[in-house]
Each structure stands twice: as structure tokens, then as C-alpha cells.
């Protein structure tokens, strides 16, 4: 039987036109017995490296290619291009870079001339049935014209006429025309199947993806879809039968495949900047030695530091990485320059470094000495671990965190410094999760929009594979779950889960190259002007061996910087965060009491519960704390033993923790015998099984990328044998390996935890010492952290900070500190619908012309549109100018300056007539308006206003809980602040709710959660029935029943002010208590919603 190579196949990286992953295509091709497979996604190489690697692993020959879009005045043309050689690959990358520059970021389009210019080293097939240069030519003349142009560029030996039989009615005519054209042009025919799926069962998803791409319901896009499932990857026998009249076209696939010898996994030819450059190494050595003298001379750690530096420099030279380190140093120096500009030369922020390291690099003394990390690795006893070792398999990662403002400028500066041809941002692929899948698939299936909306909101947010389950549980949908369209939604959601939707930008990774980067990977303009990104994500960049620089924006760094600045301005105190005491007992007392709302990393519900039990008392403890509440340690079973041993140690300072084996006493000493840090996985493998550093790193990589079970199994064999050789019983070796696997890679390296632990302490210190400035900085750095602004404000109020509402005569655009650090004023920027520029213009008008004297004055002196002014009035920002109702009424009468040609026509001040007597808003209505307009309120907590009605019905408050016995039945009302369903909690769901006194954690066991899914996921105001549970110092409510607060028949009395004047105009707003609660429900800020993976 003759063979067949598929030379035209699309994966999901064709984005909404291809429904299988490259890995799935590879596995199917292998199963079908194809001789080779080309991946030819539309206008990109996003999946090319993943594909090439998967093919190698499966023993299939990969061909790197693309289906490029071009135009020639007669319409859109598609051409299938395959890389024969490294020259051809470079041309492919350059061509795609140009076609994006020409056609646009999301609509790349080359010209045939451009394709011709890049022909060298490429094989060209004439394209698909619907858009192919020949197949879809409007007439024979144009077809011949195009054919000749391409033949001139590629020559007869590198151009083929592509024929397909997708089982469309027009196949017969099209193939006949193409056979004639091939004869007339003197070109061979080649058969392809233009595959879009690896298996027929993906055909439905392919249809749906096309509908999503076109923005049409499935019914309305039939002509644009493929009409059947014949676009599946087909094997040699099926293709031979399909082209039994043209066997030479099938044979030709093998000849073409044989010419395309370029191997992306081998032939990329990338070099680091200054790799192996002796001058670079000498420069790095001098830089480090100078800093070593400066930081360690005369210290007790001098000898150790000197030894470590020599060892590291040796490794760096061995791996030819000196240039790599110098480059990072250079970027940090650029950041320093930018910081001076951004912060201002005299800012209090000047004492702060422009950025700081995170990740495993923090364990390196070279990083410390070159300013890339701010943790002394010798003093903190950080191991070099996986960052650098003799057997290094890939370039190490150096992650740098910057405040957001500095990072934005730095990315542009790096482009400028290294050139647009040599630097780019790393790409990322936005993938389908439940919510997006439901919305987009629901739309093309033509399902009712309100149902889709409800289902999307109730979904877990993450798992598209479970949508069917969701439909069966949702009230009103369950009975329709058997309908064909709903069934289709469930099926398609599971199929679409995890597929990439489009190329976007990685959070901060950049790649830099000495040679032109656009010969290595296509570059496309980023959404933000002045930036470009490459078509590979971080894994592909890493596999290609690219030098990556991670410039990450960290909200807390921005907040801490601003806080330091605010303290200086409000109190005239200059803080140097690097010199604050790291053992302040007051700070640790708050941390131990979990009084940490707003503090970096240790503010979450899970972290708070941990703090109450582990009671951290030093920076090392915080380092553990930050790392402990992560999926790795949780799944690795480290948490409970750690807590127990920590308690035992507190009670008996001589306590010795148990170890699985005496050999583990060394690596696990600091963490009481359990694996908390990622580098401990390596240390354990080395200590127990005698792994080399490179072997251990291999194990870590195998775990982190979820490689095949076989890869892990081979590591297990080495581990078992190594442990046996050291006399470790098989049972213990197996047990420890299990823990390592469970830990997987979902943990922090110790160095990273140390860097984050320090920032956690610094933020806790600021939180305690300068609560007003800290709150103000957090509010200005939103969105960030675990809590909505409303909860941050209530925490500050508990710390005696007065928080004041938006006021057009007092607020700046951003939030500000008032009264020398005793109060915070919410900024105008918080009013929804009023843009930053508008807010700034308002402040400028006030600064130049004095306070606004009335709503008319405000309207005349600002450029604000009437709806913006109304929004300001509704938010209470104009309360100082008069009662809201009255202002709204007056706003309707105010004469505004009119824009006229050549300038603004002034208006005469006009006296307004008498305002009719309008009633004031009730306290409740003002509160609801606050939430509606700003997402927060500085007035009373909603529960305080509802309390009188609740107290009568026997509701307790959060303040009552500490004095109640464990097991007491509880009836409580609360506002939902956060929802979590951690993957490690076996289906248990946690809700954090808040009343006017504080926060309490609700625990919903699976049976209860199943009964109340929709409420638990979407309801902001809850009536909770349950039992108090007291565990150590933790209070939880074990929920038995949930109700929405203020349901019909269970009224909640909204208090009325007795002096209120009844007024007809007010009636629609005060349509009764139930209506009021409903309004707040709609306006309440969305609680943070974390599904699996977040803790």
C-alpha cells in the first residue's frame, strides 16, 4: 500500500478554525500511519514548536508550515507554505511579521509579491478549495496569472497544485479545473485533506468555532462552514481511495514531505547575547567583587559569601551565561533611570529599589550583588537549588517585580534599547473556561440570553468540562437539560475546555536576541501601541532556549511605594523600608491574630485561618507561611503535619519533629519534616535517592509540565534504585515519592517565598503603623488582592481611620490622605462612568477657579456631560452643594456653555427659580446609591441599617460569635465578600461574609452546597442558618441552610427616618423593603470568586 503525508492541517492555534490540539493531531496521525504531518495554521506559528516536540516524542516526522493569507485585488488568497530549510523557516517568520504589520494585528494579510520575496527555502502549495490561489480564482485568466507569478518565485520544483475533495458538490468541477491548470502550468499535483479536526467527534465543535468567529448563530452561517465532517485527518488508505483517479497526487505528498527537512526542535540557531564572551565574564566578575566588598566585608558571613560567589561565577562561566546576567543588570539600571523620572528626583520613593527579584533567582548571590534580588541569600540560608547547577537543561529564569508605572515605561525602554527587530513581549494564549464557553457557545446555539447569562454567572468560573453538571443543577434549566441545544452546549463546553481562543500578551515576559528576532519567531504588534509580541508562549520560548526577562507588575509594590510617598506628604516622615525593624512584636501580634486585611499574601481566608494556628513570629516563619497555603504543600499533605508540629514546638521548645527517614533531617529541618518549598523536592531527591542536581531538575520539569506518566515512571525507577542503594526501605521511598508527586510543581521556591514573605511583613508593618496611608495606597492600586474596596475601608475604620466620601470640592482624582494621616478621602475616579481625565479636569478647574459654589457653577466650569454630572450628584460627590434630589432637579435647568466655532460661547449667570420642596433621601437610599455609583460606601454598613429588623428575628452578629459555645445554632445575616471552592478541599466550598462588625467564614459541605449552588455563587446578601464550629482559634459557621436575605414572606425592615417628608417623587425609590434589598443586591460589589487553584 502506498503511503501518505498530510501537508495541510489546522490545529486549535488557527484560532476559531481548527478544533484539535497539535498533540491530538500528532497522536491521530500516528494511529493512522501517516508518513509525516505538516501543521499549517492560519498566519501563525503559535503551535509550531509544541507540534514539533509532540511529533518527535511520538516518532512522527513534523513539517513546519503555515497557511498564509494574502490579497491581489481579486480577493482573499490562501497559500500553504512549508519550510524546507532553515532559510525557508526564517523567511516564513519574516513573511508573517510583515503580513501582520501590513494587514493589522488581528487581520494579517500579505500580498502575492511579498510572498514571492520570501520564497527561498519554502515549498508552496496552491491552497485550500475555498480561498486557494488557483482553486478560488475568479476565472482562468486570474488563475494562470497567479500561477505564473508563483512559479516565477518558487520555480517548478517548489510549487504544487493542491487538490482536495472535501465532499462538497462543487468538488468535481474544481478538481477538473485544477488538473487542467496543473497541466497548463507544468506543475505536479499534490493531494491534501485540509484537516481541521483529529477525529470526527470534534466536527461539531469546528462548526461552533466558525460560528463564534463569524459572530453568527449556527443557523445563519451554514454556507461559511464546511457542511460535513470530512475535514478530519485521514489515513493513507482513505486518501488513496479518495484520489483513486489521481494516484500521482497522493504519491507526491511523500516527495514533498521528503524535501521539507527543516526541524524546528534542532535548527533554530538562537544564541544568547554575549554567550561565551570572556569580556562579559570579566565585567560581571568585577561588578560582583566590588559589591561583595561593599556588602560583606567585615561581616561574619564574609567567607561563606566569597565562597558562594566563586562557585556561582564558575557555573556562570561554564554555562556561558555571563552576558545573560549582565543583560539583566543593565535592564535594572534602565529601571533605575526610569524610576527617577517616574517618581521625581526628590520623592520619598527614591529610597526604594526600582524593582526586586522573585522566584528561584533570589537564592543567587550574583543576583543579590547585581541588584536583581533584595534578599541576602547567605544570611537567609537560601540554596542556589535549581537556579544554577552543573547540569542546567535550560536558561535559568530571573523574574523581576516592578511597580506598575515603572514597568510600563521599562517595556518600551527595552524595545528602544535593543531594537524592535531584537526584542518582543512573550505571547500567551487566552484559553476557554466555563464562563466564556457558556456565553459564546450559548449564543451560536441560539439559546435564550437570560438563561445563558444566569448559567454563566452561576458557573464555577473555571471548569468548562462541567457545564453539563451545572445545567442539571440550575433551577429552571434542569428540566430542559435533555433538550438537544442544551445537550449540545454541555458537550461542546467539555470539548472546548482549555482550547486557546486568541493570542494575547504574557504578563511581563520579554525575549531579547542578538540577531534579528523575526527570523526566529513571527512578531506581531501588541494591542498597546509601541509594543510587539512574539507568537510563542513562555513554554515555547523556554523550549526554544530564548533568553527571557520577566518584568512583572506587582500591585502591592505599587501600593507600598505610594504608601511611603503618602506618609512623607501627610506627616513629613521619610521611611526607608529596607531599614524598618523586621521583628516588631506589634506587627507579629496582628499577624498572629489574622488581623491582616489588605496585607500582601497573608490576607486570604485560607491564610488567615492558617495564621491563627501557626502564629508566625519571625521572617522565616512568614516565608513558610507564604509557601504553605499553596496547592503543592496542601496536596502533598504538608499542612496538617506542619501545624501539629508547630503547635508541639510552641509547647515544648525541645520538640524534635519526626522525619520519614533520617536522611531527610537535613533538607527538611527548617520546615519541621514536611515539604513546603519547591527546592526541597530537589533536595529530598538528592538526599534520599542520590539524584544529581540535573537529575532532580529533570524530575521537577517532568512534574511541572505534566509530561507523560512514562517520563515520571522512569524517574521513579531511578528514585527507587537510588534510595535502595542508600539503604532506604522501599516502602519509605515509595511514600516520599508519592508526596513529591502530590506536591508536583505547585509550590514556591524558598527564595521566592522569602521575597514575598518580606513584602508581606513590610505591608503588615505599614498597615499597622500608617493605616490611613496604607488604605489610600491600596484603594489607588485596585484591582488587587483578596478584598473589595468596601471591605478594605471597613478594616481601616476599625483602625480609627476616618474614611470620607467623594466630594467635588475636596477629592482629587485619586484617593488622598487628609488630616495628617487620620483620614482618607475617596477620589473622584471611584465614581463609575467618570473617567480619569474628566476627574483630573474637574480638579484642575477647582484649583484654578476656586471651590465650586453650586451645581450650576460646577456645570459651567467643567466640560462634564450632563450624565456625568448626574452620576456625581447620585454618588454624593456634590452633597456639600445641596440635597441630592434638589441638585438633580436643578441640573435639568442649568444653562451650559455651548461649544461654538472658534471657541466657547460664554453664558450669562442665570438665577434659577425656586426649587420645589423635595424630600431628602433616606440613609438606606443613599447607601444603595453609593454602591451603585462607586461600588463602595463610607456610610454605615448595609447590615447596620438592616439590623433593627434582624435583631427582632433572633439574628446574631459576627461580634457575638467569640462568646458563643462551639455547636451553638446560628442565624446570621451577611454580605458575601469572597467565594472559594479549592480543588484541594474535596468539594467543600467556603464563603467569607461580612456584617457591620467583621468577617466570618462559612463552610458548605458538598451536600449543602449542592442544595444551594446558585445562592452560594451569586447572592450578595445571605441569611445563614448553621452551627458554630470552634477549632483552635478559628471560628467557622457550618452551614445547614442558605436563603437570600429579605425574601418575600421574610421581610427585612428598612429603617425610615422619622423626619422624612412623604413626597410623591420619592415613591418609586421606596417601593417597600423588599424592593430596597433587591436594589442593593444588584448594586453590591461582586465578591471575588476563586475556584480551584487559588487559596
Amino acid at each position: 500500500m502506498s503511503g501518505y503525508a498530510e501537508l495541510h492541517a489546522h490545529s486549535c492555534f488557527s484560532f476559531l478554525d481548527g478544533a484539535s490540539t497539535p498533540e491530538e493531531l500528532v497522536a491521530a496521525a500516528r494511529g493512522l500511519g501517516l508518513d509525516a504531518l505538516a501543521l499549517t495554521d492560519h498566519d501563525n506559528l503559535c503551535g509550531a514548536l509544541v507540534f514539533a516536540q509532540a511529533a518527535h516524542e511520538a516518532g512522527l516526522r513534523p513539517i513546519t508550515g503555515v497557511e498564509v493569507t494574502a490579497a491581489d485585488g481579486h480577493g482573499e488568497i490562501h497559500l500553504t507554505l512549508l519550510a524546507e530549510s532553515a532559510v525557508g523557516y526564517a523567511n516564513l517568520c519574516r513573511l508573517l511579521t510583515r503580513s501582520h504589520a501590513l494587514g493589522g494585528r488581528t487581520t494579517p494579510c500579505a500580498t502575492l509579491e511579498l510572498v514571492a520575496e520570501h520564497a527561498e527555502g519554502l515549498m508552496c502549495l496552491s491552497g485550500c478549495p475555498r480561498h486557494g490561489a488557483l482553486a478560488a480564482a475568479p476565472d482562468r485568466t486570474v488563475a494562470l496569472q497567479r500561477g505564473r507569478l508563483l512559479r516565477d518565485a518558487f520555480g517548478c520544483d517548489r510549487l504544487r497544485v493542491e487538490i482536495t475533495r472535501p465532499f462538497w458538490r462543487e468538488d468535481r468541477l474544481r478538481v477538473r479545473r485544477l488538473v487542467e491548470l496543473a497541466r497548463d502550468l507544468g506543475l505536479p499535483l499534490v493531494a491534501t485533506n485540509d484537516a481541521h479536526v483529529h477525529h470526527r467527534r470534534r466536527g461539531a465543535l469546528q462548526d461552533a468555532l466558525v460560528a463564534i468567529r463569524l459572530g453568527l448563530p449556527l443557523e445563519a452561517c451554514e454556507p461559511k462552514r464546511r457542511g460535513n465532517r470530512e475535514h478530519v485527518l485521514k489515513g493513507p488508505a482513505e486518501m488513496a481511495a479518495l484520489f483513486d483517479d489521481l494516484p500521482e497526487a497522493v504519491r507526491e505528498t511523500l516527495a514533498v514531505a521528503d524535501r521539507c527537512r527543516f526541524d524546528l526542535t534542532q535548527d533554530l540557531g538562537y544564541r544568547y547575547p554575549s554567550a561565551g564572551d570572556e569580556v562579559a565574564h570579566a565585567d560581571l566578575t568585577v561588578l560582583c567583587r566590588t559589591q561583595l566588598e561593599h556588602r560583606y566585608r567585615g561581616q561574619p558571613t564574609w567567607a561563606e559569601a566569597e565562597r558562594r560567589l566563586a562557585e556561582e561565577l564558575d557555573l556562570i562561566r561554564y554555562h556561558r551565561l555571563s552576558g545573560f546576567f549582565l543583560l539583566h543588570h543593565e535592564i535594572l539600571e534602565m529601571a533605575r533611570g526610569i524610576a527617577v523620572e517616574v517618581r521625581g528626583a526628590h520623592s520619598a520613593r527614591m529610597a526604594l529599589p526600582p524593582g526586586r527579584g522573585r522566584g528561584s533567582s533570589v537564592g543567587s548571590i550574583v543576583c543579590y550583588l547585581t541588584g536583581l534580588s533584595h534578599v541576602d541569600p547567605v544570611a537567609a540560608r537560601l540554596s542556589l537549588g535549581r537556579f544554577l547547577n552543573r547540569e542546567l537543561a535550560a536558561v535559568p529564569d530571573i523574574d523581576l517585580d516592578f511597580p506598575r508605572d515603572i514597568r510600563e515605561r521599562l517595556i518600551v525602554a527595552v524595545h528602544d534599547r535593543y531594537g524592535y527587530g531584537n526584542s518582543a513581549l512573550i505571547g500567551a494564549f487566552a484559553t476557554y473556561r466555563a464562563r466564556g464557553a457558556i456565553r459564546e457557545l450559548g449564543k451560536v446555539l441560539g439559546l435564550p440570553a437570560p438563561d445563558i447569562d444566569r448559567l454563566a454567572r452561576a458557573s464555577d468560573g473555571f471548569h468548562a468540562a462541567e457545564v453539563g453538571e451545572e445545567i442539571r443543577h440550575l433551577e429552571g434549566l434542569a428540566e430542559r437539560a435533555g433538550d438537544r441545544r442544551w445537550q449540545a452546549l454541555a458537550y461542546l463546553s467539555a470539548e472546548i475546555a482549555g482550547l486557546p481562543r486568541h493570542l494575547s500578551q504574557h504578563s511581563g515576559g520579554m525575549i531579547v536576541s542578538t540577531g534579528p528576532l523575526d527570523e526566529l519567531v513571527p512578531l506581531v504588534p501588541a494591542a498597546m501601541e509601541g509594543r510587539q509580541l512574539c507568537q510563542w508562549d513562555k513554554d515555547s520560548c523556554s523550549d526554544a532556549g530564548f533568553l527571557k526577562i520577566d518584568l512583572l507588575g506587582l500591585g502591592m509594590l505599587s501600593a507600598v511605594e505610594e504608601c511611603v510617598d503618602l506618609v512623607a506628604r501627610a506627616r513629613g516622615e521619610t521611611l526607608d523600608l529596607s531599614r524598618i525593624p523586621l521583628d516588631d512584636p506589634g506587627v507579629y501580634a496582628e499577624i498572629q491574630d489574622a488581623d491582616t486585611v489588605g496585607v500582601f499574601q497573608i490576607e486570604s481566608r485560607a491564610q488567615m485561618q492558617m495564621l491563627l494556628r501557626t502564629r508566625p513570629s519571625c521572617l522565616d516563619d512568614l516565608t513558610v507561611e507564604v509557601a504553605l497555603v499553596r496547592p503543592g504543600p496542601i496536596q502533598g499533605g504538608a499542612v496538617h503535619p506542619y501545624i501539629e508540629r508547630r503547635t508541639a514546638q510552641r509547647e515544648d521548645p525541645d520538640y524534635d519533629p519526626p522525619y520519614d527517614h533520617p536522611l531527610l533531617a537535613g533538607p527538611l529541618e527548617d520546615t519541621l519534616g514536611v515539604i513546603v518549598f519547591q527546592d526541597q523536592v530537589l533536595d529530598v531527591a538528592m538526599a534520599l535517592a542520590g539524584f544529581s542536581a540535573g537529575q532532580a531538575e529533570g524530575l521537577r520539569r517532568a512534574m511541572s509540565r505534566r509530561r507523560s506518566r512514562e517520563a515520571l515512571a522512569s524517574h521513579w525507577e531511578a528514585f527507587r534504585d537510588g534510595a535502595a542503594a542508600r539503604g532506604v526501605p522501599a516502602r519509605i521511598a515509595e511514600d516520599v515519592f508519592e508526596k513529591i508527586l502530590a506536591f508536583s510543581a505547585f509550590g514556591f521556591p524558598k527564595s521566592h517565598a522569602a521575597a514575598f514573605g518580606l513584602l508581606a511583613y513590610q505591608s503588615a508593618w505599614l498597615h499597622r503603623a500608617y493605616p490611613a496611608e496604607f488604605l489610600c495606597a491600596l484603594l489607588n492600586a485596585q484591582p488587587m488582592g483578596f478584598y473589595p474596596p468596601a471591605s478594605l475601608i471597613r478594616d481601616a475604620e476599625r483602625r480609627d481611620v476616618a474614611v470620607r466620601g467623594v466630594d467635588v470640592n475636596r477629592s482629587d482624582a485619586a484617593c488622598t490622605v487628609e488630616d495628617g494621616g487620620r483620614a482618607v478621602r475617596v477620589g473622584i475616579g471611584y465614581v463609575k462612568g467618570v473617567g480619569t481625565e474628566e476627574a483630573e479636569a474637574l480638579v484642575a478647574a477647582r484649583t484654578s477657579g476656586g471651590l465650586f459654589r453650586g451645581i450650576g457653577d460646577l456645570a459651567r466650569r467643567t466640560e462634564l456631560a450632563t450624565d456625568r454630572l448626574e452620576q456625581l450628584v447620585r454618588s454624593g460627590a456634590c452633597d456639600a452643594l445641596g440635597p441630592r434630589r434638589e441638585l438633580e432637579w436643578r441640573l435639568g435647568l442649568v444653562t451650559r456653555p455651548q461649544s461654538v466655532r472658534g471657541g466657547r460661547q460664554l453664558t450669562l449667570a442665570m438665577e434659577l427659580g425656586d426649587t420645589p420642596r423635595l424630600g431628602r433621601l433616606s440613609e438606606w437610599d443613599e447607601l444603595v446609591a453609593d454602591y451603585e455609583t462607586t461600588g463602595l460606601s463610607v456610610r454605615a454598613h448595609p447590615l447596620r441599617l438592616l439590623r433593627p429588623g434582624l435583631a427582632a428575628r433572633g439574628f446574631v452578629t459576627v461580634a457575638d460569635l467569640p462568646v458563643l459555645e462551639s455547636g451553638t445554632p446560628i442565624l446570621l445575616a451577611g454580605l458575601t465578600v469572597a467565594r472559594q471552592r479549592p480543588g484541594s478541599a474535596k468539594g467543600v466550598v467556603f464563603l467569607l461574609v461580612e456584617d457591620e462588625h467583621g468577617l466570618v467564614n462559612l463552610v458548605l459541605y458538598p451536600a449543602v452546597y449542592e442544595r444551594h449552588r446558585l445562592l452560594a455563587r451569586t447572592e450578595p446578601l445571605l441569611e445563614v442558618h448553621g452551627t458554630l464550629e470552634r477549632r483552635d482559634r478559628n471560628l467557622n459557621i457550618i452551614v445547614e441552610r442558605l436563603l437570600p436575605l429579605g425574601q418575600p414572606g421574610r421581610p427585612v425592615i428598612v429603617p425610615r427616618q422619622p423626619e422624612r417628608v412623604p413626597d410623591a417623587r420619592e415613591l418609586p425609590l421606596a417601593a417597600g423593603a423588599e424592593g430596597d434589598v433587591r436594589r442593593l443586591r444588584a448594586a453590591a460589589p461582586g465578591a471575588h470568586h476563586f475556584a480551584r487553584g487559588r487559596h
Binding site: 458538490r169 468538488d171 465532517r229 441545544r485 449540545a488
Partner: protein, 82 residues
């Protein structure tokens, strides 16, 4: 010709199939050649999904006829006017 046929509504036919599963006789008339083959799989998300194998046949006597096999419900049909 019935009015339904004038409206393009398919009519069931007796088809005798050969080794490849393709008709060799349709309503008693021999099939001389198969001129075209296409497949339609549509409406899978609705209550009336369509899955058909179409053939354009040259029948004895030179007449062209489009027939399809209903791959869901079974049976062969003539599609008039196709």
C-alpha cells in the same frame, strides 16, 4: 409530477446498492455512472439533524438524477430540482 415534487420535496426511491454501498439501480433504472459525491451533516444542534450522502447519478438513457441516502433514518431519496 406531484405538487410536492414541484416544491422540491424529496421522494423516497427504491435503490439497489452494489459492493461500494452506492446504488446500481434506482427505481428499476440502471446507474451508468456516478458523476459527483457530497455529504451534508447539518443541524446537529437541533431536533431535526441532517446527515445525508448525496450522489449525482447518470441513469440509463442519459438522465441525471440527484439521490441521497439518509444516514440517520435510512432509505434513499430523490431530490428533485437539485
Amino acid at each position: 409530477v406531484s405538487s410536492l415534487q414541484r416544491l422540491g420535496v424529496a421522494r423516497p426511491v427504491q435503490a439497489e446498492t452494489g459492493a461500494g454501498g452506492e446504488p446500481v439501480r434506482v427505481d428499476g433504472r440502471g446507474v451508468e455512472a456516478v458523476r459527483g459525491r457530497w455529504i451534508v451533516e447539518e443541524g446537529w444542534w437541533t431536533d431535526r439533524p441532517v446527515q445525508r450522502r448525496y450522489l449525482e447519478l447518470l441513469l440509463d438513457g442519459g438522465r441525471l438524477e440527484v439521490v441521497y441516502e439518509d444516514l440517520r433514518g435510512g432509505g434513499w431519496y430523490v431530490q428533485p430540482g437539485a
